[in-house]
Amino acid sequence: MASVQVLRRRIRSVQGTQKICRAMEMIATAKMKRTQDQAMAGRPYAERISQIVADLAIHPQVDGKAHPLLQKREVNKIAIVHITTDRGLCGGLNANLNRLVANFILEQTIPATLITVGRKGRTFMLRNGQDIRAEFTGISDRPTLLETLPISRVVIDDYANGDVDLVYLAYPRFVTTMVQRPTIEVLLPVEPTEVPPIQRVEYIYEPDPGAVLDQLLPRFVEMQVYHAMLELIACEQSARMVAMRSASDNAKDLIEDLILTLNKVRQETITKEICDISGGAEALA
């Protein structure tokens, strides 16, 4: 059995870990509320813009051709925007998404290229020898639309140039604090939602529907990428909070066990010493 000294050292070390876990849990809890609010604040814009895109997409085009970002093409190459966190210690959040995307790539018969956001996804994909077109790291935990624009720029340019014919967006979707669901969605070509005819409004377009659509579609894509980023941040904080809470609970259990063992060892040593002393005294008598 381990000595008293070794046990004491062990307990101190676990206590240190526990303190760190608890601190991280509290930080994540504080940030969680803010990130969830931020994700909610972007909803009205997202709803409006998808509605307008839907209204416009049914509009007959001037030259009879659909907008390039709406056009479905024969698929020769796909791209996946893979959104993960920079930092770990947030449970299975990144691992779940990595696994989902890896399986998704394996199922494909066409070559796939990746645009990774976040260090965790990049490392995983590099280790697995995937083709990475672009990588983005170091996005703050209070992301602005401006920070996510370079990501959407790469996506839109690649699609417009014909380098890729189908773009997926993979990110963890925030369901509740306890549940985050890894999701893969089609980002490009834009698939407008169906509008029931009663809700349709006949607009006067200035300057004309084509020009508005030209401006609107890139915005729509940018907004979707930004929104996925917000979901990721909300997921990261709540996943970290849950992971760190169970870690500090485990540390507490471990410390209790160790203290029990420590006391047993200590008592045993004392009993042994008393035995020795009384044995020695008897021998002298």
Binding site: A41, G42, Y45, I52, V201, Y203, E206, A211
Partner: protein
């Protein structure tokens, strides 16, 4: 008095949501005023100032491009970025104006002059709105 429901949203937040009596904005084809019961309209916006009239009050905001949608039930502005007069950082706007003017004067080949022109418009609109607010505060 008839009013119209105005909502100004950016990708990051809802900037304004209230019943107002008139909205004046810079569309791509010139300045346009929206009164209640306006026909359904969808237009792109230029960077510029936005005037909101509510009762007898006038509010100014700055918009750096976006879309304006008039629906039968409300008016929605999807702005790329939008600031209220009191949120404007005048020093930053001045610096941006000087930077843009410098680029337009020297016209270096590697920089997009259209982008500089847009930046100039944005900073001028910010400065204009901020100054108007300062003057009005001084008068009171």
């Amino acid at each position: 008095m008839a009013t119209l429901r105005l909502e100004i949203v950016t990708a990051e937040r809802t900037v304004f949501a209230d019943d107002v009596s008139e909205v004046v904005a810079w569309g791509v084809e010139g300045q346009l005023g929206i009164l209640p019961h306006h026909a359904s309209l969808m237009t792109m916006l230029q960077p510029g100032d936005l005037l909101i009239k509510k009762d007898d009050e006038e509010h100014y905001l700055v918009i750096s491009g976006g879309f304006l949608e008039v629906r039968p039930d409300k008016v929605i502005i999807l702005a790329d970025a939008c600031e209220r007069a009191e949120e404007i950082d005048v020093e930053r706007a001045e610096a941006a104006r000087r930077r843009a003017e410098e680029i337009l004067k020297t016209r270096p080949p590697e920089i997009d002059t259209a982008a500089a022109e847009a930046a100039l418009r944005r900073s001028l609109a910010r400065i204009k709105v901020a100054e108007r607010r300062r003057r009005r505060k001084g008068a009171m």
